[in-house]
């Protein structure tokens, strides 16, 4: 497939993924644009990958993690909770979700990436480890710590939604 055709088909989905990953549409636009520029330059290599979409998604994750690393070297960190958090509004779930989005944005980049890849993209621990270039235990640890910071408690049933081995423990006979 030609690069232009691939971009035409996939850019929207890639941008959405990048927004969820970064928590910031402006940053996501930058990350995706940079990724696609690199992908264009290396298209002869990228286009023959077993799964081009997964390959470019990996490039987006790497670009994001690299961007976060570069940003921290040059940008003073400030706690903007006081001005960025929405006004308390306990009457709507939307406000709670907005608050959660803010907290997601403040997670360390690897924790955030691991959570997004696990619970948004539905990847397995092994797939995330491969994508992030780390071990499965590190991925599990990142996810666990991230969820803890977000004060998210997953029940067994909710864990099943992304763990096929637990989702399908054993087929059962029906009388």
């Amino acid at each position: 497939m030609e690069f232009e055709d691939w971009v035409a088909e996939r850019r929207g989905a890639l941008f959405r993924f990048a927004v969820v990953l970064t928590g910031d549409p402006v940053l996501a636009d930058e990350v995706v644009s940079n990724t696609l520029t690199v992908a264009y330059e290396r298209w002869a290599l990228v286009s023959v990958a077993d799964n081009v979409n997964a390959y470019v998604r990996r490039m987006v994750v790497n670009e994001y993690l690299g961007w976060r690393r570069r940003l921290r070297r040059v940008t003073p960190w400030a706690d903007l909770d006081a001005i960025s958090a929405p006004l308390p509004d306990h009457s709507t779930a939307h406000a709670d979700q907005q608050e959660l989005v803010h907290e997601l944005r403040r997670l360390p980049s690897k924790q955030r990436a691991a959570i997004v890849l696990r619970y948004y993209e539905g990847l397995t621990f092994a797939e995330i480890a491969d994508l992030l270039g780390s071990g499965e235990n590190a991925v599990r640890s990142n996810i666990s710590r991230g969820l803890q910071k977000l004060r998210i408690s997953l029940t067994g049933e909710q864990l099943d939604e992304v763990d096929e081995r637990r989702r399908f423990p054993e087929p059962t006979e029906v009388s």
């Binding site: 497939m1 690069f3 232009e4 971009v7 035409a8 088909e9 996939r10 850019r11 929207g12 989905a13 890639l14 941008f15 959405r16 990048a18 927004v19 969820v20 549409p25 402006v26 996501a28 636009d29 644009s33 520029t37 264009y40 799964n51 081009v52 979409n53 997964a54 998604r57 939307h94 709670d96 979700q97 907005q98 959660l100 989005v101 997601l104 959570i115 997004v116 619970y119 948004y120 993209e121 539905g122 990847l123 977000l150 004060r151 998210i152 408690s153 997953l154 029940t155 909710q158 939604e161 992304v162 096929e164 081995r165 989702r167 399908f168 087929p171 059962t172 006979e173 029906v174 009388s175």
Partner: protein, 393 residues
């Protein structure tokens, strides 16, 4: 403490922000104008949707090919031969209970059907031409359960059910032993791509397939498979929606085919089509009602045009025959319609005067099963291979 639903909600919120940002900033226009993007001419990202209604599916093909340059056969109108009239109207299968309807055909010629028994429960069975229905299972209707989709291959049938529109079960029926195995118990429907209320299904080579969603948007991005012999599950991640060509197989937009059984000639990318399949043939139309394409696994491809004045869609393919829904049925049942029979070998088309009922017309290997009357009061089973081809005088 927060829950998984809260996290899903946050993802949805971020997706909405992505869409709002793209809309408000003219993201696509920026893509075209930024000189640093050497791919500036790239077109905007297509919004991928998957629509299914009454057998019409939107197809996406990563291995798209344009229409073939084969010859076009003009159709000609003829009258239905007596043997066809006899078969279509009189080859009725006796079924117990009420509201029988065909759901799928196995590749050894058994038709999976359902009916309502005297207690108001929905029951399943299989039947072959000339034999009586063998019951398979029972689904109590007071629970609010309904049938989603059914697929069959060999002596296996698989069915999805949904409960009050919220959860879905998938059951595997072994037609040889009568054993029923629940593959997916009480799963959230929102996590499973569904048509007609239940999970999409396919069964091939002793493996059951169904798509699932692991994204907050609900788009199917995972293909679950169950190996009947090994009693084990597998999953494959993909990036696009799945389209099922039952019983031909599965096409997966993410770049690979779960089934290699698609004909060489198949529908083009991104266009809304009505599609129907037999075990080795596929027919499709753009829906404009002027052209029908037919293709089989051996590479034979036919285009039929002219005099096919507007029709609603393709009801079924049975061997070389295509059944067209003319949409001229009884006003009391919006799903009914007069069915026309098109012989793709000769281009001959004939009115059948069959009023297709609420159930879909299903076929496999030239065997045609359909219900007529209000919500399928009569069950017909026709072996088209034993009937003469249609010709124009």
């Amino acid at each position: 403490m927060r829950t998984k639903a809260d996290l899903d909600g946050a993802f949805v919120l971020l997706e909405e922000q992505a869409d709002e940002y793209a809309h408000s900033t003219g993201l696509q226009a920026i893509d075209r104008s930024r000189p640093r993007h050497r791919f500036a001419a790239a077109a905007v990202a297509a919004v991928v949707t998957l629509g299914v209604a009454a057998g019409a599916v939107t197809l996406y093909s990563a291995t798209d090919r344009g229409p073939s340059s084969g010859s076009v056969t003009n159709v000609c109108v003829t009258s239905l031969p007596a043997a066809w009239q006899q078969a279509l109207h009189n080859d009725v299968v006796p079924t117990p209970g009420s509201n029988p309807g065909p759901l799928a055909v196995t590749n050894d010629g058994a038709v999976i059907t359902d009916w309502t028994d005297g207690q108001g429960d929905v029951r399943f069975g299989s039947v072959k031409p000339g034999s009586t229905v063998a019951p398979l299972g029972r689904m109590p209707t007071p629970t609010g359960s309904q049938i989603g989709t059914v697929a069959a291959a060999g002596h296996f049938a698989v069915a999805s059910f949904y409960r009050r529109g919220r959860t879905t079960d998938i059951d595997l029926f072994d037609l040889a032993t009568g054993r029923i195995t629940r593959l997916l118990p009480d799963a959230p429907l929102a996590r499973h791509a569904h048509a007609f209320g239940g999970a999409w299904l396919a069964v091939q080579h002793k493996t059951v397939y169904w798509p699932a969603s692991r994204t907050a948007s609900g788009a199917p991005n995972v293909l679950i498979s169950y190996d009947i012999a090994k009693r084990s599950y597998r999953r494959k991640q993909t990036d696009g929606p799945a389209v099922f060509y039952n019983p031909l197989g599965i096409y997966w937009q993410g770049g690979y085919l779960a089934s290699q059984q698609l004909p060489p000639d198949h529908p083009p990318i991104g266009q809304r089509m009505t599609v129907a399949t037999d075990s080795d043939a596929l027919a499709w139309s753009s829906g404009e009602g002027s052209t029908v394409r037919w293709s089989d696994l051996e590479g034979d491809s036919r285009t039929l045009s002219q005099d096919l004045s507007h029709f609603l869609g393709i009801d079924a393919v049975a061997g070389p025959y295509v059944l067209l829904d003319r949409g001229e049925g009884d006003d009391s049942d919006a799903m009914s319609g007069n069915v026309q029979l098109l012989d793709t070998r000769t281009g001959a088309i004939a009115d059948t005067h069959v009023q297709a009922g609420w159930y879909p017309v299903v076929s496999r290997g030239g065997l045609l099963a359909f219900a007529t009357g209000d919500r399928g009061s009569t069950f017909h089973l026709v072996d088209t291979s034993k009937l003469p081809e249609l010709r124009c005088d």
